[in-house]
Amino acid sequence: MKKYNLYLKLFLLLILVSTISISQEKRNFTLDDMFKFTRVADPQISPDGKWIAYVATAIDKEKNRSNSDIWLIPSTGGTPRQLTSSEKADDRPRWSPDGKNIAFNSTRDGSPQIYLIDVTGGEARKVTSIPNGTSNHIWMPDGKTLIFQTSVYPDCFTGDWTKDKTCNENKDEEKSKNKVKARVIDELMYKHWNKWVEETRNHIFITSVDGKVVKQLTNGKFTVPPLALSGNEDVQISPDGNEITFSTNMDKDIAWSTNNDIYIIPTTGGQPKRISVSDGADVSPRYSPDGNYIAYRSQKTPMYEADLWRILLYNRKTGETKILTDETNFDNWVDDLIWSPDSKTIYFTAEVKGNIPIYSVNLKKEVKEVAGGPYWHENVRLSKDGKFLTFTRREISYPNEVYTFSIEEKKVKRITDVNNKFLSEVKLAKGEEVWFDGAAGKVQGWIIKPPDFDPKKKYPLLLIIHGGPQQMFGNAYRNDWQAFPGAGFVVMFTNPEGSPGYGQKFVEAISKDWGGNCYISLMKAVDYAVSLGYIDEKKISAYGGSFGGYMVNWMLGKTDRFAALISHAGVYNLEAMYGTTEELWFPEWEMGGTPWDNPELYLKWSPHFLVKNFKTPTLITHGELDFRVPIQQGMEIFTALQRRGVPSKFLWFPDEGHWIMKPQNNELWYKTMIDWLNEWGK
C-alpha cells in the first residue's frame, strides 16, 4: 500500500510537471513556420566600425510575397534600429565612404533603383531613374559617384546617356505595344535559369550621387556580371578610383563556354582589357588595398563548372599571375574573398565537410582556419581596421543571425536576435553528424529525428538527396530539414560522390558516373540508417530536386526498396535534357561530349530506359519556368508512370522555375509532398 501511495504521488507529480511543461512547451514545426522566421543577410560595417547595417526579410504568406528592410545595429550589439520601412524590397545597404549615408536598392517605385538615406535621420531620396532598374551598386572612393549595372540594348549605345536612355525606353515601349510576342532566335542561351534572354545586356554605369550625370562604361554583346558562374560582387573599383575590374564571358558561343574572364577598364571608360589567362571561369576580382594586386577565383578546366576554385593573384605592375591556392594547399572550393587592410592576407570561405568555415591565406600561400565549428558562415565582411569580421551564421537548428568575430581574440558574438520569438515557440530539430561506409570510402551524412523522438518506436525514413550534383549538404538551417521531421519523419541527408568539401577527387567521382558510385553510397546511407534500429524498413522514402530528382528517377528504375519517391525538377531523359537545357557545358562535361559524338553515357545513365522496372509510387513536382531542367522532363516520367499504372501524381507550377519560391506555392509544395509521404511512406 505504502508503495502504492508513493507511486501514486510520483504519478501525480509527473502529471503536474508535465502539465506545467506543456503550458510552456514549444510546438512542433508546422508548415506555417516556414514563413514565420526572419531572414537576415548582407551585414555591412560602417567605415568607423561602429555600426552594422543589415537586411531583414519577413514573409507575408497571405500577400504571397516577402518584404525586406534595412536595419542598423551597433557592432558591439544592442538595440537595432529600422532604417527603411517601405513595403517593397529595400536591400543592399552600402555605406558612403564618409559613413554618413547609406546607398541602398529599393523597388518602392517599381523597378529597383538606388536610394540614399542619411543614417542620422531623414527620408530616403532617389538617386537613379534607370529604365530597367539598377543592381550591384558600389561607391567610388571619392564618395561622389556610384557605379552600378543595368540592362541596355547594345545597339542604343552612343555614349550620351540622355540619348541612349530614350532609345532604350523607345525600344521597350515598342516591344510592349507590339501584339506579336514571337521571338526570332538565332543563337543559343536564348533563355537562362527562369528567364528569357532578351536583346539587352547588363553593363557597367557610373552615376553622380545626385543622379544627374549618368554614363555607360561598357558596351557590347557580353553581360556584366556574367550570366553563369558569376561570383558575388563581380565588379570592383581600384583603391585610387581610376580603374574598374569585372568578370564577363566574351566568347561567341556562351552556351557551351564557362570561360568567364577578368577585365579591367579605366573609370573614364574605354576598351576592356583581359587580365586573366585561364580557359575556365575567372570571377570575383578583388583589388588589394595597396593597389598592387587583383586577386580572383579561377577554375582551370574549360566547360567544367565544378572544377576546383583557386585563388589567383594578378600583379598589376608586372602583369604576372601567380597561384595562391590550388589542390596543393587548399583542395576545396574557395568562395568569397576579402583582403586584409595590410594587403598581406586574404580571408575566404569554403564549403568543407558540411560546414562553411572562414579561412585565411597569406602571400606565402599559408592557409589557416580563422573561424570554424558546425556552422555555415556566410556574407563575411571585414572592418576597415581589419580587427573584426561580421557575418551571418546558421546551423541546422538555428536560423541566420548576424555575428561579429574579433580576429585577435577569436571571439564570436551574436549581435542580432531577430528570431527570438520564433525560437521560443517552435521546437527545431537538431542534426546528428554520422559517417558511414559509402561506395568507396567513408561518406558523411546527418540524421534529423522528429522533435518527439521515442527510441522505442519505429519511424519512417526520408532520404533527402541534394542537387548539383556538385553541391554540399551540411550544418545549415533549412525548411525541409525541419518540416519533414516536424511531420514525423526521420530525415537523413548525405554528401555522396560529387559533393564538394571532401577534396576535388571526390567531386570528380560523380562525372560520367551519375548512376554509379553515388547511387551505391546513397543506398548504403539507407543501410546505415536502418542499422540504427529505429527505422521501419518498409517505410523508407526518398526525395530529391534537380540532380537529386535525377537520382530519385534512377532509384525508381533500379530498386524496389522505397515505399514512396518524390522527384522535383528531376532529369529523366538525358538526350532530351541536352537539347532543352541552356548551359550545355554541363551535360557535355558530365556525359563526356554531345549526344551525337558520345552517345554511350547518355544512354547508360538515362532513367528513361528503365521504365519497365518502375513500381514505386512517385510524386513528380516541377516548375514550368524551369529552363535548367525543363518541365518536359517531369512530363515524360509522369507519362511513363501513368502508362505503367504506377501510383503517381504531378504537381505543376506554371509560375515557378527550378525551385518553388512563392510562399503559397511553397506551402502547397510541402503539403503535397507530406501528403504523398503520409499516403505511401508512413
Binding site: A576, Q632, M635, F650
Partner: protein, 694 residues
Amino acid sequence: MKHARFFSFTILILFIVSSFSYSQDKRPMEIDDMFKIKRVTDPQLSPDGKWIAYVITEVDKAANKSNSDIYLIPSSGGEVRKLTSSPTADNNPRWSPDGKTLAFVSTRSGESHIWLIDVTGGEARQLTTISTGASQPVWSPDGKMIAFVSTVYPEFSDRPFKEADALNKKKNEEKEKSKVKARLITKLLYRHWNAWVDDKRQHIFVMPVDGGEPKNLTPGDRDAVPTSSTFAAGDEFTFAPNSKEIAYTATPTENEAWNTNHDIYTVSVDGTNRKQITTNPAADGYPRYSKDGKYIAYRAQHTPGFEADKWDLILFDRTTGKHEKMTEKFDAWVLDFEWTDDSKKIYFPSEENANQKIFCLTLKDKKITKIIEDGVNSDVNISADGKLIYFTKHTLERPIELYSATSDGKNIKKLTTTNDELFSKILFNKAESITYTGASGTTIQSWIIKPPTFSAEGGNANKKYPLVFLVHGGPQGAWENGWHYRWNPQIWAAQGYVVMSPNPRGSTGFGQQFLNEISNDWGGKVFEDLMKGVEYAEKLPYVDANKMAAAGASYGGYMMNWFATQTGKFKTLITHASIWNFYSMYGTTEEVWFDEWEHGGTPWDAPEAYDKFSPHKHAKNMLKYKTPMLVVHNELDYRVPVTEGMQLFTTLQRMGIESKFLYFPDEGHGVLKPQNSELWHKTVFEWLAKYLKQ
C-alpha cells in the same frame, strides 16, 4: 483537223486574254491578301428550303483578331443578308424546326452562350445562362428543346442543376482568385491540343426553348462528346425524330490517353434509360437517326488505338438491334454524312485522289454513287424533297463558297460570291495534278503549282525556277485540291517558286492500304516516295535542280528533320512544329495512342522502332549535309511540344549549322493570330529567298 485548228485558235485567244488581264489588273497574291479573304463556313438550309444561313469570318489584321457573323442567302442564290453584327464571334447557326428562329453561339456577353434570333427581324436574345458557358446548339425536332454542350466539373454533375451550377461557378471563381496557380495532375490527357483540361468534362444539357432549367443528360467523370477532333465529324449528338431521346458519342471509359474506344449511347431527354449502342473496341461516332426513326447511322473504325483507321458507315437497326456495315467495298473514309428525309439515302463527303468528293449511298442495295467530283466539298444539306443538295466547295485556286446541285450532282451552281472581287485581281496558275512512280512501283500523286508569272516570263523554255517541296502533316492527311489558309501553296508559288506538294504513303484518299503503309515506317517507303518526287521535279525543264528547298509542319516537319539527316538535296529546310526525338515526343504529347500506333508500342516495349526513325538518333549525319534550317515551334503546342523544336535547334547550333528559331509564345500547333501569321510568312519567305534566290 478542223478540231485542231479550232483548239489552237481558242488557245491563242485565251493566251491573249490572259496576258491582257495580267498586264491590266491581275497581280500575284501577296501575304496581305491572306487576311482579306473571308471564310465561309457552316451552311444550314432552312426547313422550308428557301434560305441558307451560314457564317462569314473576317480578319482584322490591325486589331490582330477575326470576327464571325451569321448571314442569310436565298437557297437559289441572290442577295446576302447579314443577320448578326456583334464585334465578337457569332457561330453555329441552327434553324428551329418551324424555320422562324435561328439558334447560334455568341461570345457577345463575354462567355460563349446560345442566343436566339428571329429570322424575320428583331434583336437576338440570350437563351443559356449556365455559368460554364454553352456551345453547339441542337434543336429537338418538335422545336421545344435545345441540347448544348457545357464544360463542367464532374464531381458536381449529379446534383440538381442550380446547385451544380453554383458549385461550378464557385470553383472557377476560387481558382481565378487563388494566388496559387499550381495544378495537381492525377492522370494523363491533362492538357489537349492547346488548352488545359483541368479535370473538367464536356457534358450534354437539354433545356426548354422557352426558358427554364437545363438538365445535364450525361453526368459523371466522362466526356459526352469526343475531346479529340480526330474522332469528331461535327455535332456528335442529335435528337431522335420523336424528340424523346438523344444519341451521343462518349469518350473511352478508361486510359483515355492511349485508348480510342469511343462509343455511342442513347439517353432519354429526362436523363433516364441510358443505353450503350456500340461495343466495338475501336472508335464509333457521329450518330444520326433516320427520319423514320428506324435507324441510327454512325461512323466506326475497327482497329483499337489506330486513329487513322478507315471510317465505315454502320446502320444500326433500332428495332432488331443489328449493326450493318454499309461501306464494306468502299475503300475510303466516310466523313460527316446526311440522311435524306425519305430515309433511303445518305450523302457523305469522302477523300479520293486528292479531292474531297460527295457520294450518295442507297441503303437498299448499298450502292455508292459519286455525285460531286472536283475540289474539297463538305457540309452537305439536302432539300426536304431530296431533289437539291447544297454544299461548300473550295479548290487550290479559290476559298470556300456555297454551291447547290441537283441530287444527281448535275446543275452545279455557285451561290455566294464572297471573295470574287478579291480574286478577280489575283493571278494564279491552276495547280496541275501529276503522278510518278514511288517506292516499290506504287503510283504517287502530286500537285505542281507554277509561279503566277510563269506564262508572262515565257513558260517552260525560258526560265528555271527554284523549287519548294512541301510535305504535309498527319502523316495521314493529304495535299488536296482545296484552299489552305495556313500552308497555302499559291502564296509560296507567288514568291517565284515552283511548288510541289506530293501525297506519298500515308496520305488519305488513296485507299486504306496506301495509308497503312506509313505506320511503323516513318522514314522508310514514304521517304522513298518523296525522294522520287524530288527526282521527278528535278527533271522538269523549268525547275532549277540546284535550288530546291523543302518545308513541312507536324509530320511534315518530322520529314524535314529526317531529310536533314538523310539527304543533301535541299538548299534549306523549314521545319514547323516538328518531331525530333520520338522518346521525348512520346512522353510529352497528349494523344499517346498516336505514337504507340505509329511506332508499334511504348518506347519501353518497342525501343527499336523508336530508335530506327527518330531523327535525333541520326543527328550526326547532319554534319555531312549541313543543310541550313529554319525551326518554327510554338509554346502552346501540346500535340508536338516546343521542346522538340528546341532540341533540334540546340543540335543545329551546337553543330554550327546555319539555323534560326521562330518561337511564338501564344500559338499552338499552327499559327492563327493575324499578325503572328504575317510574321510567320515574312520570316519563312525571307529565309527561303536567302537560300533560293541568291
